[in-house]
């Protein structure tokens, strides 16, 4: 498992696209080669900077989706309609093309395999990305810490990492995955589409008495709602770590 960033101020590094995977019609995973990458913790993010030929630059933050694999890191990008960066990274950015990255950053919204408390992950849409990094890091470290993931998506087609999550829920002992659909449910699903509520979190999370570490990631409104539910259910607010996504200009 990687360590946190080396001491010293961070500078930009040149990264090149090694390979890419389509996750959904609007999301793409980029595997970047970053020579000299210092390693990172699950949950950390990177800043990505793009420079146009005339010197114009745009900068965005993206969560890292997987544990470090040597000099390789993975980011999953969700298309933001009318955005200026995400449509480029999804539709145009090609193998071997350079971007600049600065990271890893963030030492709060992280999960360490040395942690002994059960973990509750609650993802809204693209908020799954840093939480998937935790699930993958748990597996990579051979950790037996019990994990529960509640993943809220609009429709079944919006699930990132769908095959891998199905496989891990089956094979990774101690990992439970449940879905909440807000617009459209799979055939035969017992509940109608609905926004995540107290009952979902209460049924599929952990009792507060187990003092789980809770990680909530997604759009601002989603994170706000889930964090309020967790605190109302009796979870210690200091154990509820949140990461709100956007509005960043896409």
């Amino acid at each position: 498992m990687a360590r946190a960033a080396v001491p010293g101020r961070l500078t930009w590094r040149v990264a090149k696209l090694a390979e890419a995977r389509t996750e959904t019609p609007t999301a793409r995973t980029l595997v970047l080669d970053v020579p000299g990458w210092p390693g990172h913790l699950a949950g950390q993010h990177v800043d990505v900077r793009l420079t146009a030929e005339d010197g114009y630059t745009a900068q965005r933050s993206y969560s890292i989706a997987a544990p470090a694999d040597g000099d390789r890191i993975e980011l999953t990008i969700q298309a933001v309609p009318e955005g200026e960066v995400s449509p480029y990274l999804i539709d145009v950015y090609g193998t071997g093309d350079p971007v600049e990255v600065r990271g890893p950053v963030g030492g709060w919204f992280v999960w360490r395999p040395t942690s002994m408390d059960p973990v509750l992950l609650v993802a809204g849409g693209s908020g799954i990305v840093p939480l998937m990094a935790m699930i993958r890091a748990r597996r990579a470290a051979g950790s037996r810490i019990p994990f529960r993931l509640i993943y809220s998506v609009r429709t079944p087609g919006d699930v990132y990492y769908a095959d891998e999550l199905r496989r891990r829920a089956r094979d990774d002992a101690g990992l439970d995955v449940t879905y909440a659909y807000t617009r459209e449910v799979p055939e035969g699903w017992p509940n109608p589409p609905h926004r995540i509520g107290v009952a979902d979190v209460n049924t599929n999370g952990w009792p507060p008495a187990l003092t789980p570490d809770c990680y909530v990631c997604g759009p601002t409104g989603f994170v706000e709602a889930v964090a309020d539910i967790l605190v109302a259910l009796g979870h210690d607010p200091r154990r509820v770590r949140t990461e709100r996504f956007g509005p960043t200009g896409g």
Binding site: H45, V105, G107, W108, F109, T220, R241, R244, P247
Partner: protein
């Protein structure tokens, strides 16, 4: 002067300060604990409410919404205002 009711805007978390602050500091300041100069609330810098759709980043206390920290990056300098924090406890 009257005190208006405040509606929380579309803020992010202090996590988003990690990159900009790591350009200045050698360690991750978002994992530090800060005490609000206005209301005394203590919490992680990563849990501050950050308003980033602005000319700079404005981090506010999640308890009282007063400004704890501001950061502006100009082409040749970083401006950091920390008057809203009494102290930072940085894990070493």
């Amino acid at each position: 002067m009257i005190e208006p009711r405040m509606d929380l805007g579309p803020h992010l978390d202090g996590n988003v300060l990690a990159g900009p602050l790591r350009e200045i500091f050698a360690m991750d300041v978002t994992a530090a604990t800060s005490r609000c100069a206005s209301c005394g609330a203590v919490g992680a810098v990563a849990a501050l409410h950050v308003y980033a759709n602005a000319p700079g980043m404005v981090a506010r206390c999640p308890t009282c919404e007063e400004v704890v920290l501001r950061m502006v990056r100009t082409p040749d300098a970083a401006w950091l205002d920390m008057r809203g924090t009494v102290s930072l406890r940085i894990p070493m």
